[in-house]
């Protein structure tokens, strides 16, 4: 007569649980959202007037009706240029849900045409950086090696060695660049959104910027060593060595020590 015991589970249960745990961990989502591509075309007068209407309806509450900004709420947009608007709106960062130092990318609220119109309107308020053309952001024309040298000096400390993202102070973060479009990468460098510094064309020239884009594009070819574990580095490697490596091996030791039936 078997006594009531704690071992009333099927003997394969630990294995099944281990699989479920592993499957759960490996499918834990990376939190990068897709960025839509942006086309640039010359701004027309209609664009500017349509843009001003969109602006008044969606942006003026924080940035002011003439985009002059409000202290402690939103900066002035005079002189930020079309590039800044194309980046912020095109990645869904703007309109922000609440003002603060971190503007996370979220589902894009405007389509390409509307984004173009908003950009045209803001650009009309004061001269600023414009949206780059296709050549300027074409990775195949860039030198990935020079790009890597520039990236690791200027960018990797915030965005990680291959652009996987990283922490800043007080809960801010530099996002992953794995899914960011070349245009948006260029614009962000040029404009210096939120916490990111400004990398104007005297600091990182347009060719330099394209080289950096070429380097980041190389990183999207996958990891030659296998699964990249999020490109996080030694912390992830150590975690998996313990969980998976020691887990499997100690599992084997338990099997070895068990009586055979």
């Amino acid at each position: 007569m078997r006594r009531l015991s704690l071992t009333r589970y099927h003997r394969a249960a630990p294995l099944v649980l281990l699989f479920v745990l592993l499957a759960g961990i490996t499918t834990a989502a990376s939190f990068v959202q897709a960025q839509p591509a942006n086309a640039e075309a010359a701004a027309t007068v209609t664009d500017i007037s349509e843009g001003s209407k969109l602006f008044a309806a969606n942006c003026a509450t924080c940035h002011g009706l003439s985009a002059q900004g409000q202290d402690g709420v939103a900066p002035s947009l005079v002189g930020v240029g079309a590039a800044a608007v194309d980046f912020q709106v095109g990645t869904g960062r703007m309109p922000m849900q609440a003002s603060g130092p971190q503007a996370p990318a979220k589902p894009v609220q405007f389509n390409e045409e509307q984004t173009h119109q908003l950009a045209a309107y803001v650009a009309s308020l004061g001269a600023g950086p414009s949206v780059p053309d296709a050549d300027a952001v074409d990775p195949s024309q860039g030198d990935a090696s020079h790009g890597m040298q520039l990236f690791r000096t200027n960018c990797a400390m915030c965005h990680g060695s291959v652009g996987g993202g990283g922490a800043l102070s007080q809960g801010k973060y530099a996002p992953s660049l794995m899914e960011t479009t070349p245009t948006h990468i260029y614009e962000a460098m040029l404009v210096g959104p939120q916490s990111m510094p400004v990398f104007n064309n005297a600091n990182i020239t347009p060719d330099d910027k394209r080289d950096i884009i070429a380097f980041l594009d190389e990183q999207r070819n996958g990891a030659p060593g296998g699964l990249s574990l999020g490109s996080i580095g030694p912390v992830a490697e150590g975690l998996w060595a313990w969980l998976l490596g020691m887990g499997l091996i100690v599992g084997f030791t338990v099997w070895i020590g068990m009586r055979s039936s």
Binding site: V198, G222, I256, S260
Partner: protein
């Protein structure tokens, strides 16, 4: 196993108790046989399973060698590198696991599995052995011509000689480790009055007008890239961050009014904690964050520490504009850059 429904009285027929103490029931005599112990068909099945695992191992070896021979891994085909790594690796894994699991399965199903007992002997040597040892040592002491408790000079000098002789080798060996031993090199960098600031890594000169508000330039001194020797060592001391703040936000430190201009300041990039590059610049907070241990420096207030394990602010490089509009250093740093060391202030 007996079933006790509580109906027995206070008499205990408990074989596990002797003289009011629990006793060790001894190694269990009965042994539950495994399937393979009693059923020849089960034993045969186990044998086949073991053989199958060794077979898997052989397949794994074949796979690994196949992966190696057909590899077209090269640096311009990362996919091929990944395929080779995966094929060879999985092949080796199966080759090894097959042997291992086979051997272990064999042990578990077919080899002896009931316990044996071996006696332990006290580690302490017997009294006779000890006495014998002491006798022999005494004999040896007599034979040494010294005896116990006499001839201190002899014993003392042997000891002294033995302890000091290694120094003959150790002193030159350790002495040669440090090259020229000029530890004071750490106190100076290659910045001099008039050295131009250039971009890292390309060495392009920087015009003051190019440094717009919110910018951070990573800077090396002009001439660094052309150094024949010691380039990395000099770079490790000379790297600088050039930042422009809105002049209204910048609190110029007293005595350093002419070390910066128009909100453009330059600080050493080497953290004063333990020496990582302090590279993260947060434009809106004017904070420099070091990614290694999160020391945070406030650029608007003399790069003093606002969080983290660093104690001292980043050393400031005094800068000015030359006649052509390029930014140049006015002097070297006024203190050693980087982590603290004992004789730092001397």
């Amino acid at each position: 196993m007996s079933t006790d429904n509580g109906s027995i009285s206070s008499e205990t027929h408990d074989s596990g108790v002797v003289n009011g103490e629990f006793v060790d029931p001894g190694v269990p005599a009965e042994h539950r046989p495994r399937r393979a112990d009693v059923d020849p068909k089960a034993a045969r099945k186990a044998e086949l399973q073991v053989a199958a695992m060794f077979g898997v191992s052989i397949l794994g070896t074949v796979l690994a060698i196949y992966g190696y021979v057909t590899s077209d891994a090269s640096a311009d085909d990362l996919g091929a590198v990944q395929r080779t790594t995966m094929l060879m690796g999985v092949g080796i894994a199966f080759a090894m696991l097959g042997v291992g699991v086979g051997a272990i399965h064999w042990a578990k199903t077919l080899m002896r599995d009931h316990d044996m007992v071996e006696e332990r002997h006290a580690l302490r040597s017997s009294d006779e052995a000890r006495a014998g040892a002491i006798e022999k040592l005494k004999d040896g002491a007599v034979d040494s011509g010294v005896g116990v408790g006499r001839r201190g000079l002899l014993k003392g000098s042997v000891l002294a000689g033995l302890l000091i002789a290694p120094l003959a080798v150790l002193v030159p060996a350790v002495g040669n480790l440090g090259g020229d031993w000029k530890v004071s090199n750490a106190k100076h960098t290659m910045w001099r009055k008039g050295t131009k600031l250039t971009t890292d890594p390309d060495g392009v000169r920087i015009k003051a007008a190019d440094v717009t508000i919110g910018s951070v330039f990573h800077v090396i001194p002009e001439g660094l890239n052309e150094l024949e020797h010691g380039k990395i060592e000099e770079k490790a001391k000379a790297v600088v961050l050039l930042i422009r703040l809105d002049p209204r936000d910048l609190n110029v430190q007293p005595g350093r009014e002419d070390w910066s201009f128009d909100g453009i300041v330059a600080y050493s990039k080497i953290c004063t904690h333990v020496g990582c590059p302090v590279a993260l610049y947060e434009q809106q907070t004017h904070h420099l964050l070091c990614p290694c241990h999160q020391s945070t420096f406030d650029v608007a207030n003399g790069a003093k520490v606002v969080f983290g394990p660093a104690k001292r602010p980043l050393p400031q490089l005094p800068i000015m504009v030359d006649d052509e509009g390029y930014i140049v250093a006015k002097d070297d740093f006024n203190e050693p850059i980087g982590p603290s060391f004992w004789e730092r202030l001397k």
